[in-house]
């Protein structure tokens, strides 16, 4: 499996001014019965987007508004991605075309899952976040350029802002490196640790037959 590679991109904004958006909203549980990653774009925010009969809501949910079509940066409220660990959430966001999410904070597991799928969870200070939320709502032609190598974001006013990203994730995404491959380079150390720490857990064999 090829790891995602991220560089520099320029795209529009979509405002989602809700706090604590949980992964049950991002992908409702009944769409978790899939055994692959395909076809999740329609599951994204499903119950906020569709009526019970499967037709799109009218007026449509923000990501379906024609004026936001093709915009790849979601400007979301605080603590985005709270709740369930389902990686279906970033899979669905990615399938829909979301490349980055701007918020004042993210839930831990969601953040980790997003990075593994090439979606940038970017934490912004509250004032800049508020400005961009306003721009997202009002200026449909506005675009933001994200440069991962420089870890900067150029806002519609032409200003460039640094954003925090750990050097490791940055390098992995820039070079399209895979975390599993990285761990596997340390096979000897893993073996040495296992040998030194045999432990008492064995799922294959009960210790005390019932």
């Amino acid at each position: 499996m090829a790891a995602p590679k991220v560089g520099t991109f320029t795209t529009g904004l979509v405002p989602l001014p809700a706090e604590n958006v949980d992964t049950d909203q991002i992908v409702p549980a009944r769409y978790l019965k899939v055994i692959d990653k395909a076809g999740l774009a329609d599951a994204l925010f499903h119950d906020w987007r569709f009526e019970a009969d499967g037709t799109k809501k009218n007026p449509p949910f923000v990501i379906d508004e024609p004026r936001y079509a093709g915009h790849g940066i979601l400007v979301a409220g605080d603590n985005f991605g709270t709740g369930s660990s389902r990686e279906h959430a970033p899979w669905a966001l990615g399938a829909f075309g979301i490349k980055a999410i701007l918020a004042t904070s993210f839930a831990d597991i969601f953040k980790s899952n997003a990075l593994k799928n090439g979606i940038l969870p970017i934490v912004l200070p509250a004032p800049l976040h508020a400005t961009l939320m306003q721009i997202a709502k009002e200026d449909l032609a506005a675009t933001v350029t994200i440069n991962l190598a420089a870890a900067t974001m150029t806002t519609p006013d032409g200003a460039t802002h640094a954003f925090p990203i750990d050097l490791f994730s940055q390098k992995m995404l820039l070079d399209g490196l895979d975390e599993l491959d990285y761990i596997r380079t340390q096979g000897e150390k893993i073996l040495a640790h296992e040998t030194a720490h045999p432990g008492t857990i064995n799922t294959l064999q009960p210790n005390t037959p019932r």
């Binding site: 049950d24 549980a29 660990s85 831990d108 893993i190 064995n202 294959l204």
Partner: protein, 470 residues
């Protein structure tokens, strides 16, 4: 330097730590279920990799399976395919499976402890955010995504950054009618659903020490609802007594050696934490949530908060939206709100002690007319034990539905669900919009509060039950 138990377990599991990179952390136990694993096995296959440690891996089916009698086939085709895929993956990769018809089947976080696989000092992961449950044994246990499931299957390791530490000290004595669930709901109401982000909770204090293992599991289970990936309780005699003699627990000389090791897993005198909070158990009431995240909870005697009193505009907006979804009015009391369904079960409160509490309330009584009461044991073992004790008869006689083990209406993937607009009081852990069925509305509470509510059909204070005087 004095260390917390969290740091001790962390340090014992670091395989490698390169400058600037996350640590490679060794994982002792990997729990697998049908929903978050198929894509990981597919990944292994396409890379031509094996499961490195099948002896440290165990699987079960819990989320998407029906809770109707096990001799019926799974009617939902997608769920059936998912369960079949799990069986095929486990067979191909040599992973032990307690499948949906196995006597050891159950919710992944219920069977780990039951089988004695959950042990103090271990690192435990699962593609499931409620993995923190296992922290009750003094293990560092946390939820991971499916990419990470693949990494652990392949290498028995993960890339992790050292978490910050958060001491939750609960002192005092719980009043009658107040239980472990109320402690954790009170904590989350206080710190909010993002309060523990980036941290691991250590639950300590006299009120925590006084809890049984099952009660400690209830608390650790909902650590994620406070934003913390993990939460744990240092092991003690209660822990060892629970584990001793369990099928996968060490025995004989191995047991003695293990206990000696486990006894060192306490936070050192003078160890410091990145954050701390103190909760007074004496003053806690039964808690109920009124909103659409687990932080929106209040003492049962309270009234539904008014967005007009919120100083933070974002919080006011969130509260307005939540009350709209729940169709509740600010200022109303939470006691007396009608419910359509009572759900007793889940990895939070689906263990035998929870069922005993609920049965004790329902014994010789009848559930309120028109209210559907579902009791779903957390595992096949819990179900057998409950039946040995006659709890199933108590539930059935009271008019409740006694089901097979699984996640059921906690996540509503299997057909057990609310209709749009319906209200449930639920002993599970999430009250998100639609969590228990599209358009469904959830009040989270303890088994005692849920059972008291089953009798009246409206949210009821368990402290008014016989034998629970204030």
């Amino acid at each position: 330097m004095p260390q917390t138990i969290i740091e001790k377990i962390w340090n014992q599991h670091v395989v490698d730590q390169q400058e600037g990179a996350p640590a490679i952390l060794a994982i002792d136990l990997h729990l697998v279920h049908e929903v978050t694993s198929p894509q990981a096995f597919t990944g292994l296959r396409s890379r031509g990799l094996k499961v490195r440690r099948p002896d440290r891996t165990v699987a079960t089916a819990d989320h998407s399976i029906p809770t109707t009698p096990r001799n019926l086939p799974i009617a939902d085709e997608m769920a059936a395919a998912q369960v079949k895929q799990l069986e095929a993956n486990c067979a191909e990769f040599g992973v032990p499976l307690h499948g949906w018809e196995s006597p050891n089947q159950g919710i992944v976080h219920v069977i780990g402890p039951e089988l004695g696989l959950t042990q103090p000092g271990a690192t435990i992961v699962c593609g499931d955010s409620h993995t923190a449950t296992h922290g009750a044994f003094g293990a560092l246990a946390f939820g991971i995504g499916t990419s990470e499931v693949e990494m652990v299957l392949a290498t028995q390791c993960l890339l992790q950054r050292k978490p910050k530490t958060y001491l939750v000290r609960v002192d005092g004595t719980l009043r009658p009618g107040v239980s472990a669930k109320d402690i954790i709901l009170a904590l989350i109401a206080r710190i909010g659903v993002g309060g523990g982000t980036g941290h691991v909770f250590e639950y300590a204090g006299s009120a925590i020490r006084a809890l049984s293992m099952e009660e400690r599991m209830t608390i650790c289970n909902m650590s994620i609802e406070g934003g913390a990936r993990a939460g744990l309780v240092a092991p003690d005699e209660t822990t060892f007594a629970y584990l001793k003699g369990r099928p996968h627990a060490p025995q004989g000389a191995d047991w003695d050696a293990a206990v000696a090791r486990w006894r060192t897993l306490t936070s050192d005198e003078g160890a410091t934490y990145d954050k701390e909070i103190v909760i007074d158990a004496n003053t806690l009431e039964p808690m109920v949530t009124y909103g659409t995240n687990p932080g929106m909870g209040l003492p049962i005697s309270g009234t539904i908060p008014d967005p007009a009193n919120e100083t933070d505009p974002a919080a006011a907006r969130a509260l307005t939206r939540a009350l709209e979804y729940m169709d509740l009015r600010a200022g109303d009391s939470i006691i007396g709100r009608p419910v359509n369904t009572v759900f007793i079960g889940s990895c939070t409160n689906g263990r035998i002690s929870d069922l005993r509490l609920a049965a004790n309330v329902l014994k010789g009584q009848t559930v309120a007319k028109g209210v559907r009461v579902m009791v779903v044991p957390g595992s096949a073992d819990v179900k057998r034990q409950a039946e040995r004790e006659g709890l199933d008869t108590i539930f059935r006689d009271a008019g409740a539905d006694w089901r097979e083990a699984g996640c059921s209406m906690c996540i509503a993937m299997n057909g057990d669900q609310l209709a749009p607009g319906e209200y449930a009081i639920s002993t599970s852990n999430r009250n998100f919009e639609g969590r228990q069925g599209k358009g469904g509305r959830t009040f989270l509470a303890s088994p005692l509060t849920a059972a008291a509510t089953a009798l009246t059909g409206v949210i009821a204070d368990p402290r008014t039950l016989p034998g629970m005087s204030r």
